[in-house]
């Protein structure tokens, strides 16, 4: 991304505005909230967030909100359709000169993974196919967090959740939402993480300059659901990137480009062993076979990363 015009070269270029208010009921160390803070500072307050049911729904509880801009909570399945309605209405008002251009807003969906990978997928697919001009932010805590972290379409293999509590944890594999988006040929798609704020800010900045459907998919370390000490959120986020488990990439102009290639990659066990949901891989006995398989999957990805 070095060839791109950006106002974010160094850490000190990052905005220090802290647009998002404090005092929300999110858990201490919430990686989703961290990402949202960083994203909002780049986006600015001329936004309307269209929210799907999840942890973030409790950001705005009557009569308070941490947002300087606007907010509309919809339901679990149809936030993209809410974005469609707002965007279309704003366009109609602009076209008919019933609203001055400076009153226009950026329409932003804010959704968890459960909605994004599952119940909301058809509404998302529809919005992309209609070429809706919107930003779609997913905070991916890899489970239905708000209801107590049951496994979702985003839960990684072997993670223990409230509905995969025993034995080897979740038997399935994490679905690839980035690729699902890319298959739609959207205007833009990127993976980010709050622990890499410079990379995140550049991607949000880039998305803002492009019209059409745009994905910002943020892995969101979740102390409550993943079972780790809240002070480790940033460490775990960095490890997700440095072990290669969470590739930072973007899709733009028809190509997927990695914005960071971890080299050398740390072993995945460094990421896994910090989280209670994977503790069964280490105790009471080390599950060497499973750890080897998990490492191999990551190695396989990086042997030929999509470019």
């Amino acid at each position: 991304m070095s060839d791109v015009e950006t106002r974010f070269h160094r850490f000190k270029d990052l905005p220090s505005t802290q647009l998002l208010g404090t005092g929300t009921p999110m858990c201490a160390g919430c990686g989703g909230l961290q990402a949202l803070h960083e994203i909002y500072d780049v986006l600015g307050e001329k936004t309307v967030f269209v929210n799907a049911a999840g942890c973030m729904t409790l950001l705005s509880v009557y009569p308070f909100t941490p947002f300087r801009g606007s907010w509309l909570y919809t339901a679990m399945a149809s936030a993209p359709a809410g974005a469609q309605g707002v965007r279309d209405a704003l366009d109609i008002l602009l076209e008919q000169e019933r609203m001055p251009p400076e009153e226009d807003l950026r329409v932003v969906v804010l959704t968890g993974d459960g909605a994004a990978y599952g119940m909301g997928l058809s509404a998302t697919s529809g919005a992309i196919e209609r070429g809706l001009d919107f930003l779609y932010i997913v905070y991916d805590n890899e489970g239905y967090g708000n209801t107590g972290q049951q496994y979702s379409g985003a839960t990684p293999h072997a993670a223990r959740t409230a509905t995969s509590r025993m034995g080897g944890g979740f038997r399935g594999d994490k679905k690839d939402l980035f690729d699902i988006w890319v298959a739609h040929r959207p205007a833009y798609a990127a993976t980010v993480i709050g622990a890499e704020p410079l990379d995140l800010a550049r991607k949000v900045e880039r998305a803002m300059a492009i019209k059409g459907p745009k994905l910002i998919l943020a892995l969101a370390p979740c102390p409550t659901g993943w079972d780790f000490d809240p002070k480790l959120t940033v460490d775990i986020g960095r490890l997700a990137v440095r072990t290669g488990i969470w590739p930072l990439k973007e899709y733009v102009d028809g190509r997927v480009v990695h914005s960071k290639t971890p080299h050398p990659r740390k072993p995945v066990k460094e990421y896994l062993s910090l989280q209670g949901r994977f503790a069964h891989l280490f105790e009471p006995q080390r599950n060497a076979a499973e750890l080897t398989r998990m490492q191999a999957k990551v190695d396989e990805y990086w042997a030929d990363p999509a470019t």
């Binding site: 801009g69 606007s70 509309l72 339901a75 359709a81 809410g82 469609q84 309605g85 707002v86 704003l90």
Partner: protein, 413 residues
Amino acid sequence: MSRVLLTGNGAAAWGARLARVDYVPAFPITPQTEIIESLASWIDGGEMRGRLVTLESEHSMLTAAGAAAATGVRVFSATSSQGLLYAMEMLYTVAGWRTPFVLVNVSRGLSAPITLEPDHNDVLAARDSGFLQIHCADCQEVLDSVLIAYRLAEDSRVRQPVLVNLDGFYLSFTREPVTVPGPDEVDDFLPAFDAESIAFRASAPESQAVAVLGGGPYSYFRYETHLALLNGLTVYDEVAADFAERFGRAHPAVEAYRCDDAEIVLLMMGSFATKARAAVDNLRDAGQRVGLLRPRLLRPFPAHSLVAQLVGKRGVAVIDQNISMGKGGVLHAEVASVLYGHKDAPLLVSFVGGLGGRDISPEEFFEMVKVVAAAAQRGEAPPPRLLYTEDELREIRKLQTLAHVERNSLGEG
């Protein structure tokens, strides 16, 4: 103003066109599809300003409708049966947003078994959602009701979405002469939508539909919505009176036909009420004092007018084109609840009929009147009746026998 032959669907589309709607989120379903196809072709052909977007489901369609209305444009949408149920989560949700817009439902029986023909279980499933409901009996009424519905929805005392219901096939696909008012007349009656504070704007940040904690604030908002709907009773009467004055067509909240001196009253909603009306004329010719009451407004429930019309009558046949499984007719329970405790309340007898478009014959209307008269005489209501003839049962049995024979012979072969 012009008089043309229009289907119920055509009349609904003309209503939306004359209302100069800005935005039409859409999704196809029989028997509604003609409405959105008409609007799409008018918009594409430049005959009508506005934007039509086909969503990927009715759930999304209702979400987009509510969201656009919450941003301050005039919204129209239409659906039917399975679509209305698919959208049900969002019906309740957008009604809670207090967003004014109009949704036409073309009634169709619900699956299972799947059918295309009408009854009112679909629209009654939305009864408690916070949408106001207007039920139409002919194609003219469909067009007029869409216009009335916008005035009602957008009135600052109401600010709620309104459902306009018409029956599939019987109205949706039936051509009737309809007076289409001129655009200027309609503009005078229904000026452009003044959204006031209903908006998302950069200079005026707004949080809509936020969560609440606890029953206190929750109850506050739920009661507010209920009270807004109750305001709809007065507003409806005002708007209908204004409409009647301008266009010469009266659409009262409850239509009373030959009720003044009636002893027995038939009470029902929708297009099948026109069958009841014909039966009333026949019975009157035979010297019986029979009338018809047809609530057009179901929500808010026009309790006062119903009570005023019914107290003092001997008996009422409440004919429900719906069935609440394990209970019976929905309208019967509603009417009974508002009459209870009134001195001289008539005896109510419940009939369920017309499910999935099944006809209600003149003979059945005569029979119902007979049953009600006898019950009133005795002072005791018989158990609810499910309209079905011996012939119909015989037909079904015959089909079942045929199917058995066929299966057995296949099994042998």
